[in-house]
């Protein structure tokens, strides 16, 4: 008898409190007798990363010492933002005071009134004006500011330098074209059973997400300029699927397993048996910190032949139910942990001592501003990796124009998953048919959405 409690269980989990708060000392009232404030903050590292978690807890303690009267409680939900729990958490009063939102969800969250207008409190972020104007613009609506940009990335090619060496390839001369990617992937897959030259997603909306990255790179689009119709049934879209099909079935360089969900490819990458994947620098950080990848093995290069790069990132936003005192305290925390040179996440000396991959160019929200330059200088000074490993990525990222995700991204990704899983699971898949079917479905969704 099938257990019908499954759906109930998962829903209940999604509706329950997302994480365990870390213990913290109760706030002591300020000397001036100001009201004690208690805030909850998202993104505490998981228990599976004890060193990073300890560093976080140390920062919390240091922050509370510097801000008497403020109590900080942390939540360690992984990933920090999960669309599955976001709405229910907010509705159930379980949302943190400071929570993180990916760029794809900015408009949605802001337009639904799910984030506080923080315009009066931006002075809490000391180097607010050093944040890139284009990123600040993304969290601004009708002249009001709703978030603190925290991460920005553009796509590159993440590769395993150790596998390149093992396969007789030069890790200092990574592929620049898709033809070179194919050749390198073949050689890596030729190392033996279990080796995958090039890893790619095909389900759980990640397949469509990576299709979007790839088609942008080739100069194509997902939607027409007016966002009314699908535009991926194009020569660029066909080239994306044809390349993947040929790598999977002609070259046999992509393994035999379909990868569904974000962590599946990360786990594979962390195992040290996958040669290349599309990804931003944060992939390296996650593969090392969360999936036991060897920090010295990974490098990133520019997106091959890219004409545009899917631009992504995240911002911190404040719970709309927060009081002014709570909002100020939460922003002060964000400033302390995420925006101060040499402190919190930018404490590269500490990161190096923890074995983190310091030197990965993983943040562009400050651009070339004084803060950005200071962060980069500090990163280079404390680098635990040869910074030159990432030089090609940095150069390319500066020249490839960013391109935002399409409207109704998740719906379209779900549709494009089918095309991706089609070419990766069927040798006789008709690419024209897959794209035509996806186009029909996407147009129906777009018409329904108006």
């Amino acid at each position: 008898m099938q257990r019908s409690t499954g759906l109930l269980l998962v829903s209940a989990l999604a509706l329950s409190t997302a994480a365990c708060g870390s213990g913290s000392e109760p706030a002591t009232p300020t000397a001036g007798g100001a009201k004690a404030v208690s805030i909850t903050v998202a993104c505490q590292p998981a228990k599976s990363a004890p060193k990073e978690r300890q560093a976080w807890d140390d920062d919390v303690a240091a922050f509370m010492k510097a801000h008497p009267g403020v109590t900080v409680k942390s939540t360690d939900q992984q990933p920090c933002f999960d669309p599955k729990t976001f709405g229910p958490k907010l509705a159930g009063g379980q949302m943190e005071t400071a929570f993180v939102v990916p760029v794809t969800n900015y408009n949605d969250v802001i337009s639904k009134g799910q984030a506080l207008d923080i315009t009066p409190y931006t002075s809490e972020i000391k180097n607010w004006n050093d944040l890139r104007p284009d990123h600040r613009e993304l969290v601004t609506k009708d002249g009001k500011i709703y978030g603190v940009p925290n991460v920005h990335y553009s796509v590159g090619l993440v590769y395993n330098r150790a596998l390149f060496t093992k396969a007789g390839l030069n890790p200092d001369a990574p592929p620049k074209t898709w033809a070179e990617v194919r050749e390198a992937a073949k050689k890596i897959a030729g190392l033996g059973a279990g080796y995958v030259g090039y890893g790619e997603y095909s389900g759980g909306n990640t397949g469509g997400w990576h299709f979007t990255q790839a088609i942008y790179g080739r100069g194509g689009s997902i939607l027409s300029p007016d966002n009314k119709t699908a535009a991926f049934n194009s020569p660029e879209g066909k080239a994306v699927l044809q390349t993947l099909h040929d790598m999977r079935w002609v070259d046999n360089s992509m393994g035999t397993k379909l990868l569904v969900g974000w962590e599946s490819l990360m786990v594979a990458m962390g195992s040290g048996k996958v040669g290349m994947m599309l990804g931003a620098p944060d992939v390296v950080t996650d593969v090392v910190n969360k999936f036991k990848g060897n920090v010295a093995d990974y490098g990133i290069t520019g997106f091959p032949e890219a004409k545009a790069s899917l631009s992504g990132g995240e911002a911190f936003m404040i719970n709309p139910k927060a009081t002014p005192e709570e909002a100020k305290a939460a922003l002060a925390w964000i400033d302390f942990r995420f925006n101060t040179v040499g402190k919190g996440r930018f404490d590269f000396a500490r990161g190096k001592s923890l074995g983190n991959p310091v030197g990965v160019p993983d943040n562009a929200v400050f651009g070339d501003s004084p803060t950005g330059q200071a962060i980069q200088a500090d990163r280079v000074k404390n680098a635990s990796l040869p910074v030159t490993n990432y030089e090609t990525y940095v150069q390319a990222a500066g020249t490839i124009p960013p391109k935002a995700e399409p409207l109704h991204a998740q719906e379209l990704y779900a549709i494009l998953d089918v095309a991706m899983s089609g070419v990766l699971s069927r040798k006789d898949a008709s690419i024209d048919q897959l794209l035509a079917d996806a186009e029909t479905k996407a147009n129906a969704v777009l018409a329904a959405k108006g």
């Binding site: 759906l7 397993k257 129906a444």
Partner: protein
């Protein structure tokens, strides 16, 4: 009044059960019914939208596939998960030795948390070092793609589901079989009935009610299949394992379209109510 006083303890227990049902079963059902006619983000005031959510759900490109997959899964799960446990129960019932041990072995998978069982099968199905392909290889057979092919993914999920849930059904059938008066078998044997005739004329008629009940319960449960596609395939490849419950979850928690998820839930509930009504009628006829 006197009757009420005499049965006060019983009513007390009944109230506790009613409270649980109200909070955890009926209230959510009513909320879902209301939700299916509303547009809501769970934060702002919901807007009544009539049948719009049902139209949205119907227009979903995966709607048809989800229903077909659900029906196919239900059919396959019944073929495997309805008949097999009954046969196993018959065999167990006939055994004279090691019955308790075998009963434990059959029931063991039920004790595993579903997530653990699913993750175990993820390894079994792995196209590389997976157990199933290793076994095929040992017999000189070519490997199968299992979860990674649209032609085998759904049946692979049925196998997982059957393995996970067979134990419960077997024990229920076994309990029913052990309640059949032995005199009936003795009389049948005296009349010269062989094993098949005994099953046909004694076992099946005597367990008819439980067979009907189990058929109903299995249809209701398998039509709500969620964990297997969610954990193993993400609805793929090529939507081959998207089910109605999975689509509901996607709509609610990925797209945050709680209204259309509620509408899908209502559709599923109506279909299941039809089955339930049919079963009740059959049961009543049987009793009559």
């Amino acid at each position: 009044m006197q009757i009420l006083r005499r049965n006060l303890t019983a009513y007390g227990f009944l109230c506790a059960a009613l409270a649980c049902f109200t909070v955890f079963a009926w209230y959510p059902m009513v909320r879902e019914f209301i939700l299916s006619f509303q547009k809501t983000d769970l934060i702002n005031e919901p807007i009544w939208v009539g049948l719009d959510n049902f139209v949205t759900a119907f227009q979903d490109p995966a709607f048809g596939e989800a229903w077909l997959n659900t029906l196919e899964f239900t059919f396959l799960a019944l073929v495997c998960g309805y008949a097999v446990p009954f046969v196993v129960a018959l065999v167990l019932n006939e055994l004279r030795h090691a019955r308790a041990y075998l009963r434990f072995v059959v029931y063991l998978p039920v004790m595993l948390p579903p997530i653990v069982a699913v993750l175990l099968f993820r390894w079994f199905y792995d196209p590389g070092p997976g157990l199933f392909n290793q076994v095929l290889d040992a017999f000189g057979l070519p490997p199968l793609a299992w979860l990674d092919s649209s032609s085998t993914a759904l049946i692979s999920l049925v196998i997982v589901s059957t393995w996970m849930n067979m134990g419960s059904a077997t024990l229920i059938y076994l309990a029913a079989l052990q309640n059949i008066p032995p005199e009936l078998y003795e009389a049948a044997e005296l009349d010269g009935a062989g094993i098949w005739k005994r099953i046909r004329h004694v076992t099946i008629p005597q367990t008819r009610l439980i067979l009907l009940l189990m058929l109903m319960l299995q249809i209701v449960a398998t039509m709500q299949v969620f964990i297997e596609p969610y954990m193993l395939t993400g609805g793929g490849p090529e939507n081959a394992t998207v089910t109605v419950a999975y689509l509901m979850f996607q709509n609610a928690f990925t797209l945050q379209d709680y209204g259309s998820a509620g509408a899908l839930g209502m559709m599923l509930m109506i279909v299941l109510l039809v089955f339930a009504a049919f079963q009740l009628r059959l049961t009543r006829e049987d009793k009559a």
